[in-house]
Each structure stands twice: as structure tokens, then as C-alpha cells.
Symmetry: D2
Subunit: 287 residues, 4 copies
Amino acid sequence: MVLDSSGFGIIGGDRRQLALAESIAADGFRVLACGFENAEFTGQVQKADLQETTEVCDKLLLPLPVTADGRTLKAEFAQKQIPLNDTLAQQLKGHMIFGGKVARALQACPQMADLQIRDYSVREDFAVRNAAVTAEGAIAYAMREYAGTINGSRCLIAGAGRIGSQLAPRLRALGADVTATYRRAVTAAHIEAMGCHALPVEKLAQGGSYEIIFNTVPAEIFTDSVLAAFACGTLLIDLSSAPGGVDMVAAGKHGIRALHAFALPAKVAPRTAGEIIKQTVYQMMKE
Amino acid sequence: MVLDSSGFGIIGGDRRQLALAESIAADGFRVLACGFENAEFTGQVQKADLQETTEVCDKLLLPLPVTADGRTLKAEFAQKQIPLNDTLAQQLKGHMIFGGKVARALQACPQMADLQIRDYSVREDFAVRNAAVTAEGAIAYAMREYAGTINGSRCLIAGAGRIGSQLAPRLRALGADVTATYRRAVTAAHIEAMGCHALPVEKLAQGGSYEIIFNTVPAEIFTDSVLAAFACGTLLIDLSSAPGGVDMVAAGKHGIRALHAFALPAKVAPRTAGEIIKQTVYQMMKE
Amino acid sequence: MVLDSSGFGIIGGDRRQLALAESIAADGFRVLACGFENAEFTGQVQKADLQETTEVCDKLLLPLPVTADGRTLKAEFAQKQIPLNDTLAQQLKGHMIFGGKVARALQACPQMADLQIRDYSVREDFAVRNAAVTAEGAIAYAMREYAGTINGSRCLIAGAGRIGSQLAPRLRALGADVTATYRRAVTAAHIEAMGCHALPVEKLAQGGSYEIIFNTVPAEIFTDSVLAAFACGTLLIDLSSAPGGVDMVAAGKHGIRALHAFALPAKVAPRTAGEIIKQTVYQMMKE
Amino acid sequence: MVLDSSGFGIIGGDRRQLALAESIAADGFRVLACGFENAEFTGQVQKADLQETTEVCDKLLLPLPVTADGRTLKAEFAQKQIPLNDTLAQQLKGHMIFGGKVARALQACPQMADLQIRDYSVREDFAVRNAAVTAEGAIAYAMREYAGTINGSRCLIAGAGRIGSQLAPRLRALGADVTATYRRAVTAAHIEAMGCHALPVEKLAQGGSYEIIFNTVPAEIFTDSVLAAFACGTLLIDLSSAPGGVDMVAAGKHGIRALHAFALPAKVAPRTAGEIIKQTVYQMMKE
């Protein structure tokens, strides 16, 4: 890989960016981290303020998402927050900048529009790698919440997209009997090729006997009438992004234990999630 | 499924169409088979000539490919061949017709252009289902040709598309250490999500230590210089369609045992291959 | 199965016995539960005191272990404890009695020796079923504690016995590269047959590069000098029964994150653990 | 490994011994091969007659089985056969000798009794490693003979011993729904721990709907009445040693396609089978 050596500045973030900083440093690059006053790094990462970071580093990595509140950079380990404003935009200027969910930040701080921040979070390779982490996190979540074992259980996955198609073979490999829903015939083909059962999504309303249901569809498909068709006591883990695909009130009414499991990569495997950001950014620099 | 009951005519084909006819009959439909004089059916399939078949049946299923020689319908079990000509085109007229690799037949017999034959072989769901069969067939082929076991072997898959992405997890599940090549970053993400190693295709020329190589890329990527980088005695199974992706002469020169494994679904699992045609045709009728 | 219908008495226990009671009731048998004042049953289980339970039921199921403190029956949901004494022994007399880790209870209460309590916990089928639950629980534990994903990680399992031999294929199926130690050549054969690497246990002291180590050996094999050979930051999960196989002080000194994960079945999958007790007891009744 | 360097003599055998000779030579040892006049070695193996072989080598490896016909050493590649007689016994004297199925040879040639030939074929590690090869070979066999795919098929395995317990997870990993029979409760526990269905062997006579049945039990359990309970057209592969566990005449009567698949390791993976002999012999020398 041809990468010049002037250094990477990591500005803000959570445990993923902490791991990201350490991982880039372990590759032999100089890394400055700003907004990590309360964090401890194990590797050769140098804490710095915004000015030093932007002076020393020509490549700057913003968090995922760049902003959570629309006013400041996401920075869980910062002592004082970094506002999204002219000053920030001014200091970032002239750098090669990467960030996640950039659109939301631009809306909140239009001054950043000229910075040409490159968004790693919209790339398909990033999404696929994160889906693998989410699939594993979903299994950890199910193992913790379900009173039985995955082995020998009947699992239903609503949606066999990026996450569902990675969750299905893992559950099956652990000994579950796995059914996944599909809309398109090609998805049914993929599901069956993995040794799982394919169920047309329109038959979801007929219910069935499952111990664990995973929802990956970001639309409210688990409505009152659909939930009524599943057995009382079923565990339903919603992996779709907020607001999720489950009518939580109806779930309660029908005795379905429905739980949201949002943002699993950051929670269950921040180190791998940080690695994925690094891999994606390196890849973007090569392209 | 809403299917009327006037019957399916199976006209020509190989063991897949034989299985297809039996499977449709087993679903309760009337099935007439033409061009199967030398075949024996176990189910309720009625042998008939072309005229009776087209009179009785409103749905006609042509083989895959419709024609192999450009002059007659493919019909391995026929006593006398069915020529692609005006007579045939005339008799097929007015039916709902399905066939595989239709373009080739239209080129050979332009009179069939008006028949609006629907091609099941160009659909993605058909391709994915067949890729699963091919992946399994490739494993059977490797088991037969390789003097060791898949378990404990190092396998390289060139190309992680439809076939490669189904072959990789199967080999790994059987105990192999699996590497697959990629061109696009997203493919690398998919490969690694399956617990396999991702190798940029441009590094293929560096060779490596593998017992079995599977090629799925339909372009000559295993050139003389690439082959030179692999160990003498390596088994190379070419799964790509003819003319294949391997310089067979160079392979011989470098002591690589290169073998073509074309058209695996028809050979290793005609029954499943027939089922897949049925599933696809049923699906097309629903859409 | 030929089982008479006079009822099962569940006397004491934790969430496993709660699930056990419900599961036997779901099979259509009459079930009385004693020592569950603070529990809520969803099925047809009748709470009762000791006298009623022993009067109505001819089959009595004691917990696993029968006693934890050596003075009372283990009864997590009891309002008042049930002492191991003459009174208890008297009331249990004349029944078919099953219990777990019975020897310990007999030592504490020799009056129970005449009761001929049959121990389900010493049976091999019971141990194998529990090992499957432990293996799954170990994975859940690792997923929670490890900052990366199992997929792509290098795992070492010390000991390929009941638990290790079930943990290895699960980790591999989730995408890990798995090494397991062995003492006997036949164990190496089993390890390699699962696509894993076999390491003679005497080479453990040479360390190696692993992200996660699972210990299943109930002897202190992870001594100071062995631990020194592994990388700082390695996660070491000790699955062996107390006192475990890891010098925890030395682990801390070498930066190894060593954690005990005792009694996983009861914690992670009480329902399955209860099912296993039921299956074993039914099996013992048939034999 | 501490092995002295005076050389290994390979006397007789088939493709396994050929691979064995090459593999030992590749480890850096001097190897002489006797009874391989018609074979070609790729590595540093020296062909020799019996006298030279026994003079140069202190370690002698006899084939598996040592004798097939009871009169000569098994030697598929020999130009002239090596009789089991006094001369042979005399020449072998004073060496460290290993062989397979030695008992049969001693019966045929009692003069060899004093040679203290060590039998690698009776060891459990040898048997487990070979079972892995047999399991893989059984899959290759099924793929070739079955007109459908393993993926999506229902498979029944009679006997979950060494071979069955390795076959079950492989079939399941390829997408089959797998049932295995058991006699002992602990075997049922093992079967279910692999995500398969456990069937008491006494229920075999109730039949069931399976596409492929594998028999591993070396006793005629597939009798006329048992076979009658399975569907016409079922494929039954008998992996048990001759005479096998299937009433072949009755199978034909009931339309069951029953096939013997004996001695798979030598046929499907001679190289691995040779490696296994080598591993076992090395292990015996260490012990």
C-alpha cells in the first residue's frame, strides 16, 4: 500500500475510534487523537488538541456518525465537546477527511459542505463487513436473552439482506433450524442454498412455531395482527435501525418478548468495528 | 399457486427434463412428454408426439439449451430428432412457452422469434440455484480427483461470484483452509465474513501453496506465467464455462493437473437441476 | 414411553428446576413443586408444601446440586429453607428419587443414604448434553467479553474433552481459526477431523498468538510460566470447574484478561438445562 | 521428533503405501520400497529388492492388510509376489516392524509370530483418522450416485459411531437435514449436540421419508421388513465392512437402491490414507 507518512488525525468518536487509532498506529503510522482526553491508549497514539492534530496530520478521520446531536462532534471520551461551527470547518480545511453518516452533519453545519468529507459509511464493503459484526452480535444477544440454546431451536429471520444472509448460516451452524423470509425469488434461492427454509414474506402473517425471531427489515412488518399469529413467549429481536420494525405495544399485548438491539457493532465488537473503518478508509485511499 | 390444469408439455431435453416432467406430474398436473421415446418415466407422465403434446398442453417447456447443434431441439432421449424449422414454429404458436438459452435458438431459427419464448435460464434466481448445484458438484469432482481429503487441504477459489461464494463456505465446512480472490472491495468483505481469506486477484501471479484450485472466472486468468507460480502437482478444476479460464497447455508444462468440469448440474444432480427449472417456471407463471 | 401418571414432585432448585417442572407438566403429567413460593409458573404446575408433595407424588426430583451449603436443600425460590435432616429423610422415604451431585448431600446428611437417590448428574448422557450448553455459553461469554468478533479470530482451546470437542466446531463454524491441545493421539485425530489444529499440550508453554483462549482442563495448567508465553491483552476464559485451571494472579501480572465462567448451563440456558434433566430422568426411568 | 536416520523400508502395499513412502522421504528420511516395481515415485524413494531393503532399513512398514489372500504380502505394484513364508520371516527378523491387520497374516503364516509386528490398524487414533476419510468418501459417493443434491436432502445415518459421528456434521454443513440412530442415551446426546435428530434404533423399522440412507452398522439391521418401510427409490449406501448390514436381495425387491461402499479411504484419498499410516507409525515410535 502506498501511503505517505505524515500522519492520521482521529477527531472524536467512541470505542471504535479508540481501537481505530491504535490499529493505525500499529501499522506504523503517526497518529494524533483529539477529543480523547478521558481515554487511555495502549499503543503509540498521541493525544493532542484540534489545532495540533490538524497541523500535523493531513488525513483526518471523523467519527461514525460525525455528529449525534447535530451541534457537536460525537466524542464520548472528550472532556469538552467540539462544536460543529465555522472554527471547526476552518481548521479542517485543506485536509483529506473521512467520516461516517456525513449527510446528517452537513445538514447541521452547512459550512462543512466545502470540505469534501468522504463518507466511509455509505460504501457497500463497509456495510457488508458491519453486517458480519451485527450478525455475530445478534447471536450473542439471543444467547443472553433466550433461556434455551440456539442448538435445537427454531429461528425465523425476517429479511435475508446483508444482515439476514449472514445471520442465517451462523445460526444454522450452531444447530438451529432456520427459516428466512423473502420478497424476491432470487432471495429464496440464496436462502435455500444455505440449507435454510425460505418463506414468502406475505406468509409471515400466518405465524408459526419459532423460539426466536430476528427482524432485519426496517419497516413495521411485525404489526399487531402479525404478532398475534406467533406463540406467546416467543423472543423477538429487532435488528433493524430505529424506529425498528416491531409494534412494541402490540408485542407486549400478545406476550411476545420484543427487544431492540440497535448499533450492535459499536457495542459488541468495537475493536473489529474500528478495524472495519480502517480497512475501508485504506481502501478509499487506494481507489 | 394459481395454475390452471390444462397440462404441461415437455418437449425434448436430457435427464433434467425427464426429472422435470416427473416432478410436475407429481404436483398433480397432466404432463405430456415429446422426444422421450427412449426414456422411462416412473411417474404419471404420458409420452406423446409433437402434435398431441401441443394440442393437449397450453404450457410448453423447451430444454436447456433449446438447441445444442443449431439445427434440432436438444432431445437426448428422442428416437428421431425434432428439427428447428417452420413446422415446429407453427406447432408451438399460441402457447405459453419456456426455454433455456433461447437466444441461441432464435439465431438458428428466426421463425421462432414470434413465439415469445420466455427464457428461464437468464434469471438470477435460476442462476443462484444452479450455482448451489455447481458448488456441490465441484466438491464431488474434487473429492474424486484429489488423492487427499478436502479436510485439512488448502483450497484457492479464483472468483467469488455466484459459484465461488457458494463453494467457499462448503469447502470450509468440510475442514479446508479457503482463500478466494476478489476484484472489488465488497467481495473481499463477503469472503472474510465467511471465515475465508481474501486475496486481491492481482496477487494470483504470486502463486502460493494450495492443494486444490477452483477457477470460476470465465476469462483466461490462469496464463502461463500465473501457472508457473503454483506448485507442480496442484489440482486445478476449471468450473468456468467453455472455453474456460486456464491455458491447458501451459498447465501441463508446469505439472498442474488442470481439468475442465463443465455443465455440472446436469451431470451430478439432474433431479435437482430439473427441480430448479420447475421452480423457476412456476415462479415466472406467478409473476 | 410407559410412565405411570401419579405425578412428579419437584423439590427445590433454581431456574432449571422451574423450567423442568413446567416441561414435565407440558408433557401431561401432574407436577407439584415444593420450595418455589417465590416463583411464578406459566404452565400447569401446582405449588405445594413438602408433605403434600410427597403424599401425592411417587417420583421426586431433587435439585442439582441437592445441597449447596451442606445444611439445606438448594432452593432459590423458597420462602423458608428445607433443612437436610431426619424429617426430610423420613418424608422422602418410599419414593423414586432423583437428584444431582448426590454424594455431597449424603456426606452432609447420612440419614439420606437409605433413600437410594439416583444421581442424574453422574451420567455420561447428562454430561454430554450439558457440555453442548456450556460450549454455547462459552461462545456467548466470549462474544460479550472480547472486543472483536469470533469471525477472523484465532482461538486456542486447552483440552478437547466433552466441552472442548463441542466448542471447537462451533467456533470454527463462526469463522475462527481454532487450535486445541491434546494429550492422547486419538484426541489429536478428533481435533484434526473437525478441521482444527491439534497442539500437544506440552507445547502450551511455548505460547502463541491467540486472541481468545478457552481453558477446559480442571488442573492448573495456566501457570505463571505458561501465561508468560502469551501476548499481553489475550482474553482467557476458564470453563473448568472451581478452583479452575488458571493462576489468576500471574495472569494479571502478564496482562492476560483471565475470567472464570463457572456453571454456564444454569446461567445462560436454564430452560435447556432443565430439559436436559428431564430427558435424563425419563431415560433413567426407562432403563 | 527423535527418530534415528537409518531408513524406512516400505514392503508391499497399494496407492496408500506409495504415498506413505513419498511422504516419509519428504520428511528427510531414507526410504527403500520393495514390491513396487510397477510404480513410479515422484520423490526420493529408492526401489529395492527385499534383501537390500531389510539390510539397509531398521524400520519396516508392511501394508494394510499385510496379506489379502493369506499366501502373499499385499503388493499391488509388484512384478512378482512376495510369499508369506520362512524366507520372508527370516529376512524380517531383527527389525522394528509395523503392519495393518496383522492377526490375519499371523494366522496364515505362524512363522511371523516371533517378529513382534506392531499393528497400527488396531489403534483408536488410526481408526478415527480413517473414519474422517471414510466420511468424506461417503459424501463423494452419495454425490455421485444421488440424482439430487445433498443440500436440501433428508439423510438418515444408521449408527453414530466413529464414522457416523463424522458423517453427520459434514452432511448437515452441506445443507442436509440429518437424522442418526442410536442405541445408547449418550449417543443421542452427541447426535443432538451436532444439530441432528436422534432416532432410537428400534424405530428404524418404522421407516421414514429419506432420500439417502447411510449404514455404518456392521450387522444386518436393514432386513427385509425394515427395508419395506422405506420409500421405493431411496438410495442406501452401506459403509459397514463386508458382508455389510443390508439384505441386498430384499433391497432390490423393495426398490431400494442399495450399494456397498467398502474400503473408501484407499479408494478416494490414498494420499491422506498414507499420511494417516505415517502419522500413526511416527506416534507409535514416540510412545
